[in-house]
Structures are given as structure tokens and as C-alpha cells.
């Protein structure tokens, strides 16, 4: 699209805190991906990261309280796509995260969400919003073709 402001896409979506919206957000990412030129082979993986972040926001952040909100920002500039997922919770101390590949974790059914987010994005960090909200920010380098993990 020649007349489009190439590196100035910004989409903000605010939904009630409920798992029923995860598919909708996944669909929106698909559209955004097309607009910003995310390599198609990365879409499923970035979508996986988004889904993990949104599910965490609903279940852990907002503790299944669907009077609360989840807000997702998707913003591209300078060859990067930033995806930020905000919830109304307190966040968590990063020390509680443990590598799910360690032998003592391998047979646990949980604890792989943030790990997958880190694998499939080119940067993930936790944010504290000015309004006190907790955010997870994920950065995607649009020039990279495959997933970050080169060692597969």
C-alpha cells in the first residue's frame, strides 16, 4: 500500500477479561501481521506468544474477574512490532519463574507460558503502567525470518 504510513501502525484493543476473546485477538494479530509484513512463517509463533500473554492476563493478572479489562496494543515502527498486553493485576516477581526444561519441571503441566513467549519473540519485558497496571511487552524484529531459537 503505497499511500500507507508504513511504520506507524497502532492498534489498541480493550476487552473484558475473559478467555473468549483470545481467538479474537489472535485474529487481529493475523491482520496486523499482514499489514506490517511479518514473515508468514513466524505468525503462528508470535500468535502463540500473544495467546500465552493474554491467557496469563486473564487468569493470573485479573484472576478470572471479568469486570476487569485486558488491553492489547500492537504497534510497529522502525522494523519492529511491539505487542503489549496489560492487565489490572499486580504483576509478579520474576524470581518465581523457573526454566521448564529443568528435570524437576519437565513433568509439570504448567509453567511454560513465559518461556514460550521468550522463545518466540525477540524481546520480552515486564512493565508497570503509570496507572499501576501490569504489562507484558513483546518485541518482534520484522527482519528476522524464523524463530529466535537458531539451535532447532
Amino acid at each position: 500500500m503505497a499511500d500507507a504510513p508504513g511504520n506507524d501502525l497502532k492498534v489498541t484493543i480493550k476487552v473484558r477479561s475473559h478467555l473468549r476473546y483470545t481467538d479474537l485477538l489472535h485474529t487481529v494479530l493475523g491482520q496486523v501481521a499482514r499489514l506490517v509484513g511479518l514473515p508468514p512463517e513466524r505468525l503462528d509463533w508470535v500468535a502463540l506468544a500473544l495467546r500465552e500473554a493474554v491467557n496469563n492476563a486473564v487468569l493470573h493478572g485479573n484472576r478470572n474477574d471479568f469486570t476487569k479489562w485486558v488491553e492489547v496494543e500492537m504497534e510497529s515502527s522502525g522494523g519492529f512490532l511491539a505487542i503489549r498486553v496489560w492487565d489490572e493485576g499486580q504483576g509478579f516477581p520474576p524470581e518465581i519463574l523457573s526454566d521448564p526444561r529443568r528435570p524437576e519441571n519437565l513433568f509439570k503441566p504448567n509453567g511454560r507460558g513465559i518461556f514460550l513467549i521468550r522463545q518466540f519473540t525477540d524481546g520480552a519485558e515486564f512493565l508497570k503502567g503509570p496507572d499501576g497496571r501490569f504489562g507484558l511487552s513483546m518485541t518482534i524484529d520484522l527482519k528476522k525470518g524464523e524463530t529466535k531459537e537458531e539451535s532447532l
Binding site: L19, R51, N55, L106, F107, P109, L116, E149
Partner: protein
């Protein structure tokens, strides 16, 4: 949306899964399906993932839970027909070291006979 089908072949209970295995993607979870097979006394269970297009950490967790539940009941649980995506996911999480998996149904069924 996850769909499933179970059938018996060469004394092995095959659970064929299709669609997305994600948080909240089905009324029935993989865990329930496996429990059901174990309750029916099945000791050889094969999960066919060939039709699974998408899986998240919840799906991986279900696989792990199915595996440990089966093991506690001395049943054998194996996987077959991993797509590249699912295989990548299992590799990244090192769950590939936990599961016994095969490329084709025939190979998988044969492995139970040994």
C-alpha cells in the same frame, strides 16, 4: 476448536486429535479422554497429532499430564504424526526427551508389539 476420535487398532487405543489444542479450546480436555481410556483398562495408548494445527502451553501441559497419568497406571502412552510445528514445540520445551514418538502409524503400532 478441538475434535477427537478414538479407535482400536492391533490392540492399541488410538486417540486422534484434530484442530487447536489451546486454553479453553474444547468442552472435553485431552486429560479427560485419556482418563476415560485408562478407566476402560487400556494399557497401550497412542495419540495421533497429525491433525493438530495449533497448540499452546496448555496443550503441552495436557500432553504431559496425559503421560504421567498413564504412567501411574502402568500404561504406555506414545505419540505419532507430529507436524513440524508440534515437533518444534516439543523440542524447544525439551518434552521431546519425555515422549516416545513415531513418524507413521505403522511404526508406532509396531513399537507396542516389541
Amino acid at each position: 476448536m478441538m475434535n477427537h476420535r478414538t479407535y482400536e487398532k492391533d490392540g492399541v487405543a488410538v486417540l486422534e486429535l484434530n484442530g487447536s489444542i489451546t486454553m479453553g479450546s474444547g468442552d472435553v480436555t485431552m486429560r479427560d479422554l485419556i482418563k476415560d481410556l485408562l478407566q476402560k483398562g487400556k494399557k497401550r495408548i497412542l495419540i495421533d497429532l497429525g491433525g493438530v494445527s495449533f497448540m499452546d502451553s496448555t496443550g503441552l501441559g495436557e500432553l504431559v499430564a496425559a503421560f504421567t497419568t498413564a504412567r501411574h497406571q502402568s500404561a504406555d502412552l506414545k505419540l505419532v504424526n507430529l507436524t513440524k510445528k508440534i515437533h518444534d514445540l516439543l523440542s524447544i520445551t525439551q518434552l521431546a526427551t519425555v515422549f516416545e514418538y513415531y513418524d507413521t502409524l505403522d511404526e508406532a503400532l509396531a513399537s507396542f508389539r516389541k
